[in-house]
Amino acid sequence: MHKQLALILLAAATALAPADAAPRRGQAAVDVDPQNRGPVSGTGIEMRDIIGMSDRIVRDLLQRADIVGTAVPPRIILEGSRIRNQSSQRIDTDLFSDQLRAQLIRAAAGKLRFLSRETISDVAAERELKREGQTDVGTRGMTRAVAGSDYRLIGRITSQDARNNSTGMTQRSTQVVFELVDMETTETVYISEPFVVVRAQRDDIVYR
């Protein structure tokens, strides 16, 4: 009986013992390679996905002699507003357009020209000032009209969420596809390989 009581006391003491010490020290800011998985990640699209996807598209496009190898560089419009987020992840689509535009401009080295329709009202105002004589003509001269585009790069982000309610596992599949559309004929002259990310995670049971 005394031995049993001692065992019960031991079990109670074990159960009541505090959990092992938590990491108490803070974490100073660390540099994380944007192309690698960081210390914090979720099931959605991350920066490393955007960089990797942009890199693939740049490589694809630069191999297309019918687009990049022409004597006169084609003009392309690429804006975040034309990258349609139809996924269940809230995301700033400018992340995609800025990354793509920067990588394409740098890698194409003049073989592709990009038009900024986002600033067209600023351009129109400046053109008017020049033509009214309120400013001089600048150093590059004037054109009869603003540049027209040959292509527009558009994209679409879609996703599918799934959940296993018995295990609490959640999974999100995200797909991103880009197309280069001929602005004269509507023909799709290039479509990127679908970039698919599937990630799963499970929250603690106290939140399920």
Partner: protein
């Protein structure tokens, strides 16, 4: 306070020399400051200290100060609900930038996975209350955080992210143990459809038909907005559900409606000038939050809490029985029986202690600003932006002007959002357990997280 005063004095440029000799102001007493900080250290631990709180709140607008203060003092454990309360209060006072930042911060935490979190594992512990965990809210509360963020995206004309937010809200409704309760949040399906339709006005092929159909499956009376309609009107009325504990060991989480029936029976919108010929548009109720809260069909943690309650009642039963038997045996004339009785009493006492140490209480912290009913109406957006909102009761119009009114969107897709009840509610997080709160705040890991939260708040 002395520290702040000292800092302010130190930051002041030297004043020009006065014409007459003035008595010099008393120099800050370094020892008094040190004593004060030592006292605060004893009282508040790692903080926040009163001078830090005062300095933080000084830059915040008056109506939102109580919510910022709760957030500042509440730490990570209550950060989600405090961000939600701040966000909705900010929407009411028209501070949309703060509202966006607050709901973004709440959703960031809701979407975080607590894979190896010590407070989450402590919430599962038999001898600790569920309320130890960081608050994320029940699915209906999480859905409403996505919903309000979605409304703010609609206001800003960002229809893709609005749709993503409403999808996040709808997804929370699928987090149900029971299949029969999944996907019945008609309002969220409706808003996914509406945002998709707005998005397709700039190109694309999302017409929202499938989402309107899903809303209609949950709410058969729902009217699909005609294609020409480009103005969405949302009305929120009544007081949303509150949480309570039930069961012998307070282990059951139950939802109660604070009102038997909301006095607001109907919401009517009048667009443009209020002239004799102008008509009112009646909003159609689509979802009830009490229904959403009570039809989830159970939580995974309910099984753990039932186990804790069972442990508590079983150990109490054994303890009582052993104590009674032991005391009875200790009155025996036989020495061996008396000794056995003493041991039995000891074992009984141990079980009684284990029972009293077990904590089966359900966590009843909740978001207290939520409405009961969500209703919608649509129209062709008039050029005149004036809008009048009336709440109608059983005997006619109620003397209840809208507590909040938000208008936004763009020419393609507009939004009007109105609430009958004010979100500027007083007090701290309702349902919080002050003892658990104080105990968690003393944990060094929690204190470190709280300090990081306060640092991030200072940058908001």
């Amino acid at each position: 306070m002395l520290g702040l005063a000292f800092a302010l004095l130190a930051a002041q440029p030297a004043p020009p020399a006065p014409a007459a000799i003035q008595p010099a102001p008393p120099a800050p007493d370094a020892r008094a400051i040190a004593r004060q900080r030592a006292e605060w250290k004893r009282q508040y631990g790692e903080g926040p200290y009163p001078d830090e709180t005062e300095a933080f709140l000084a830059s915040k607008p008056e109506p939102l100060r109580p919510y910022w203060a709760n957030l500042w003092r509440g730490g990570e454990r209550n950060a989600v609900v405090n961000f939600e309360r701040l966000g909705l209060a900010a929407m009411e006072v028209g501070d949309y930038r703060t509202a966006e930042a607050a709901f973004d911060a709440a959703l960031l935490r809701i979407e975080s996975v607590y894979a190896k979190d010590r407070l989450a594992s402590r919430a599962r512990d038999t001898f600790a209350k569920e309320a130890n965990k960081d608050f994320k809210g029940e699915p209906y509360e999480r859905a409403m955080a996505y919903y309000y963020r979605g409304l703010l995206y609609l206001r800003a004309g960002d229809y893709g992210n609005a749709r993503a937010a409403f999808k996040g809200a709808e997804y929370q409704d699928t987090v149900s143990e029971s299949e029969e309760f999944q996907g019945d949040f008609a309002m969220m399906n409706y808003l996914i459809g509406w945002a998709g339709r707005c998005q397709s006005l700039t190109g694309g092929d999302v017409d929202g038909a499938a989402d309107f159909a899903a809303a209609r499956a949950a709410q058969p009376d729902m009217v699909v907005p005609p294609p020409a309609h480009n103005l969405l009107m949302i009305s929120e009325t009544g007081a949303g559900p509150i949480k309570a504990q039930d069961g012998a060991m307070r282990e059951k989480l139950v939802f109660r409606s604070p009102e038997a029936a909301s006095p607001e029976r109907e919401t009517r919108f009048r667009l443009g000038p209020n002239t004799a010929g102008s008509s009112e548009i009646i909003a159609q109720p689509l979802s009830s939050l009490s229904f959403q809260a009570t039809t989830r069909g159970g939580r995974a943690i309910d099984g753990i809490l039932r186990g804790k309650a069972s442990f508590k009642s079983t150990t109490a039963g054994i303890g009582n029985a052993a104590l009674q038997a032991g005391f009875a045996m200790m009155t025996s004339r036989d020495e061996d029986t008396r000794n056995a009785g003493a041991v039995a009493s000891g074992v009984g006492l141990l079980f009684a202690l284990l029972s009293s140490a077990a904590r089966a209480d359900a966590d009843i912290r909740h978001w207290d600003q939520l409405p009961e009913t969500l209703a919608v109406a649509t129209a062709v957006r008039p050029k005149d932006p004036r809008v009048e909102v009336r709440f109608i009761g059983a005997n006619g119009p109620l003397p209840m002007p809208p507590a909040a009114l938000m208008q936004g969107g763009d020419a393609r897709c507009g939004i009007i959002w109105a609430r009958s009840r004010s979100a500027l509610v007083p007090g701290d997080v309702p349902g919080d357990d002050p003892r658990v709160r104080a105990a968690v705040a003393k944990r060094r890991d929690a204190a470190a997280k709280d300090k990081m939260l306060r640092n991030s708040l200072s940058q908001l």
